[in-house]
Amino acid sequence: MTAHTTTAPARRRRSPAARREERTGWLFMLPFVLLFLLVFIVPIGYAIYSSFFQQVATGGGAYGGGELVNRFVGLENFRYVVTSGEFWAGMGRVLLYTVIQVPLMIVAALVLAMLIDSFVVKHVSGFRLGYFLPYAIPGVIASIIWVYLYNGQISPIVKGLAALGVNVDFFASNVVLGSMVNITTWTFTGYNMLIFLSALQAIPHELYEAARIDGANGWQVAMKVKLPNVRGAALLAMLLSIVGTIQLFNEPQVMQTADPGISYSYTPMMMAFNTSRGFLTPKGDGPASAIAIVMAVIAGLLAMAYAFVERKVSES
C-alpha cells in the first residue's frame, strides 16, 4: 500500500532479472488492483460524476414526455444537501450517537479485554468466544431481534420491567437513539475487545516482570504498562468506530418498521438511501450521491481531527 521505499542506487538500466521481478510483483498485485478498481474506485468515481446531475422529466407538462433526462446541475445537489435542514438534523443525530456510543463501547471493550488478559480470569477462551458471539450475528438480524425485545406488546424485557413497576417505552422519541446505541454496543463491543486483547497479548512479558521487580501492583501494571501499549489499537478502534457510527443505517432502518416516527432522513445514510429509492424529494442518484459524498467528507474530517488531537495529546 505504501509507495516504494526501496532506496536503490540510481541506476540507468535495470537488469532483466529486476525487471522480471517487477513484472512478477505487478502480476501478484493484479487481482487486488482489478477488484479494487472495480468495486472501489469506479463506484466512487461514478458517484462523484452522478452527483453533478439531476433526473428531470423531458417536455414538461403534467406527465413529462415519458423520459427522464440527466440534467447537469453543477453544484446544485451539493447546495441542496448543505442547506438541507433534514441532512443536518440527521448529522446531529449521528454525532450525538457517536459521542455516546463510541466511548461507551471502547471503554467497555477495554475493560473486558483487561479483565480477560488479567490473571483473575480462568478459561479465557470461553469468555472470549462469549463476548465475541454477538458480532457473528449480522447487524440487520441483530436489529430485528432487538425490535422484538423492545416491542411493548411482546417484549419480555418491557413486561419484566413493567412487573417491577418500571414502565419503559424503548421507541419514545427521546429514548429511541439510546435503544440504537444499545444494539450497536451489544454487537461491536466483543469485536473491539478482541482487537484490544490481541494487542494486550502482544506485550512482551518481560515488561510485566520488570514492573513487578520495580514494585508495581496489579493495578499499576494494568494502568502504566498495559494501557499505554494498546494505544495504537485504541486509535484504530476509535477511528473505525467513529466512521462506522457516522454511517448509522441498519438499526434505524430496521426499527422504522416498528416506529414510523423514525423518519426517512433519520440519519444521512438513510437519507441517501431513500433519496435514491425515490422516497424523498429531490430524488434520484444525483442528490443521493451528493449526500453520500458530503457525508464521506465529514466522516473523513472527523477521523482526521480525531487522529490529530490524539497525536497532539500523545506528544505532550
Binding site: V243, Y264, T281
Partner: protein, 440 residues
C-alpha cells in the same frame, strides 16, 4: 506516535472514507435481469417479472405460466419472481432499461404508474391492448393509462373495506357504524372495554389516508397540461376530523400496520375492527392464524364516515405494464390478457382480480375465517363503488412525508390535519423537482 501507528491510522482513515463513499454510489445492480425478448424462427420469448406472493397452497405463477407455454409453443413466457418491495422493483427496472436487458412485462402498482411513466420505462401498447379492454373493469383499465395512452393491463384492485369481528361487536352491543357520529360513538364505547374498532396506521398513512380521502374526491387533476393539487379537500378534512376525535379520545389503535404489535393486537382481541384494503383479507387471516377470531370476522363496506356517501377509495392494486424495449407487444398483450383473466388462480394468490370475464368464488379457507360470508362479492361491490382517484409521478415521496407526519399525529405531537397539509407541500415539491408543470 511512531511511524507505523501513523501509517495504520492513515490506512484506516482512507479506507473508512472510501467505505462511506462506496456504500452509497450507484444504484441497485441487477443480477436477476430477465433476458430481452428474442425471437428465433417465429418463436417469441417473453419475460414477465412479478411480486405476487407465491406462497404454499396458492397456484404458483410458474404453474399458471406453464399452462400457457404448453398451449402456446410460439409464445414462450418466463416468469421471474422478484423478492423485494415495489420501489425496489422500480429501481431495478430503471437500471435494467438503461442496461438494455429489461423484462418485457412487469408488475406495476396503479399509484406508481405515473412515476414509472415519467421515468421513461414504459412501452406504449395502446393499439395492442385496446381489443382486451372489455375483459377488465373500466376503472382499473383507465388506471393503466396516462394521457389517453395505455401501457398495460390491470391485474388486481385494492378497494378499501371494513374488517370487523362480529362476535366481539355483538358482545359490545354495537353494529358496523353507518355514519360519522355512529362511528365515533361506537369507537368510544368499545374503548371503554379496552377494545378498538378502528386503527390509525401511521406507516400506511400515505396509502390509506389518501385512499379514504379519495373516496370523496380526487387530489390531483390535470388542467391545461398542468397539475392542480389539492390534498386538503372536504374529504381530507373529514378524515382528519374523525381520526383526530378518535385519537383525542384514545379510542383508536395506533399500532403501525407492519409492526409485530399490530398482529399482537389482533391476536389479543384488542383490535376488533379496522379499515383495510381488500388484499389484506388473507393477511389478516395469517396474522390471527389459529390464535382466535376464526369464523368471527366479517367484511363490510365503509360507511358514510367521511362525507363519502357510499363510495370508497383505492389502496394499492396493480397491473402489469409493458416495459420499454418490449419488441413483441401484440404477443405480450395476448399472454397478459390470458394471464390476468385466470381468475381462479389469481384469486388463490389473494388477489381481487380486475378481470370482468367471470365472478370469482370465495376460496374455502376465506369463507371459513369470515364466517361463511361471500367475501369476494363484498370486494366486488366495493370495487364498483370506488371513487376516481389518480396519483402524481413521484407519489412515493408524498407518502413518506405523510407517514412521518402521521407518526407525530399518533404520538400526539401533531394534528391529523397537518398530515394533509404536509401532503400538499410535498406534492408540489415533488412535481417541481421533476420539472413538471404545476398550477398554483
Amino acid at each position: 506516535m511512531n511511524w507505523k501507528q501513523r501509517c495504520m491510522a492513515t490506512v484506516a482513515m482512507v479506507s473508512a472514507v472510501g467505505m462511506a463513499l462506496a456504500g452509497c454510489g450507484s444504484g441497485a445492480s441487477s443480477s436477476t435481469g430477465g433476458a430481452a425478448s428474442a425471437s428465433s424462427g417465429g418463436k417469441v420469448e417473453l419475460t414477465y417479472i412479478h411480486r405476487l406472493p407465491d406462497k404454499p397452497g396458492m397456484t404458483s405463477v410458474e404453474d399458471i405460466v406453464q399452462r400457457w407455454n404448453d398451449a402456446n409453443p410460439d409464445i414462450q413466457v418466463k416468469a421471474v419472481h422478484f423478492n423485494g418491495n415495489a420501489s425496489d422493483l422500480i429501481k431495478k427496472l430503471e437500471t435494467d432499461v438503461k442496461a438494455g436487458n429489461a423484462p418485457d412485462l412487469a408488475q406495476v402498482g396503479y399509484a406508481e404508474l405515473p412515476e414509472v411513466f415519467t421515468k421513461g420505462i414504459l412501452e406504449d401498447v395502446t393499439a395492442e391492448a385496446e381489443q382486451y379492454k372489455g375483459d377488465f373493469a373500466a376503472g382499473p383499465y383507465e388506471l393503466m393509462g396516462i394521457g389517453g395512452k395505455t401501457y398495460g393491463l390491470p391485474q388486481d384492485t385494492g378497494p378499501l373495506v371494513y374488517f370487523y369481528n362480529k362476535a366481539e361487536f355483538d358482545k359490545l352491543g354495537i353494529e358496523v357504524p353507518g355514519t360519522q357520529d355512529e362511528l365515533v360513538a361506537s369507537a368510544k364505547k368499545a374503548a371503554e372495554q379496552g377494545k378498538y374498532i378502528m386503527s390509525f396506521q401511521a406507516d400506511e398513512a400515505g396509502n390509506m389516508l389518501s385512499g379514504l380521502a379519495g373516496a370523496s374526491g380526487p387530489w390531483y387533476t390535470v388542467e391545461g397540461d398542468a397539475w392542480k393539487v389539492d390534498t386538503e379537500t372536504v374529504g381530507s378534512q373529514a378524515v382528519a376530523k374523525v381520526f383526530q376525535d378518535l385519537l383525542d379520545a384514545k379510542a383508536v389503535a395506533t399500532d403501525p400496520r407492519w409492526d409485530p404489535s399490530f398482529d399482537a393486537a389482533l391476536q389479543q382481541g384488542r383490535l376488533i375492527g379496522t379499515v383495510g384494503a381488500a388484499w389484506e383479507a388473507p393477511l389478516l387471516m395469517d396474522s390471527m392464524a389459529d390464535k382466535g377470531g376464526k369464523g368471527d370476522w366479517r367484511v363490510a363496506q365503509i360507511g358514510d364516515w367521511f362525507g363519502n356517501g357510499s363510495k370508497t377509495g383505492p389502496d394499492g392494486g396493480s397491473g402489469v405494464a409493458a416495459i420499454k424495449g418490449c419488441e413483441h407487444k401484440a404477443e405480450a398483450m395476448k399472454f397478459l390478457d390470458w394471464f390476468n383473466t385466470q381468475i381462479e388462480d389469481l384469486t388463490s394468490q389473494g388477489l381481487v382480480v380486475a378481470a370482468s370475464t367471470g365472478t370469482p368464488s370465495t376460496p374455502e379457507s376465506w369463507s371459513e375465517f369470515y364466517g361463511g360470508q361471500d367475501v369476494m362479492k363484498e370486494f366486488f361491490d366495493a370495487n364498483a363503488n370506488m371513487g376516481d382517484f389518480s396519483y402524481i409521478p413521484g407519489f412515493s415521496s408524498v407518502g413518506t412525508a405523510m407517514k412521518e407526519q402521521a407518526a407525530k399525529a399518533a404520538a400526539g405531537t401533531a394534528t391529523v390535519e397537518s398530515v394533509f397539509s404536509t401532503a400538499q407541500t410535498s406534492s408540489i415539491d415533488t412535481l417541481k423537482d421533476y420539472g413538471l408543470a404545476v398550477s398554483e
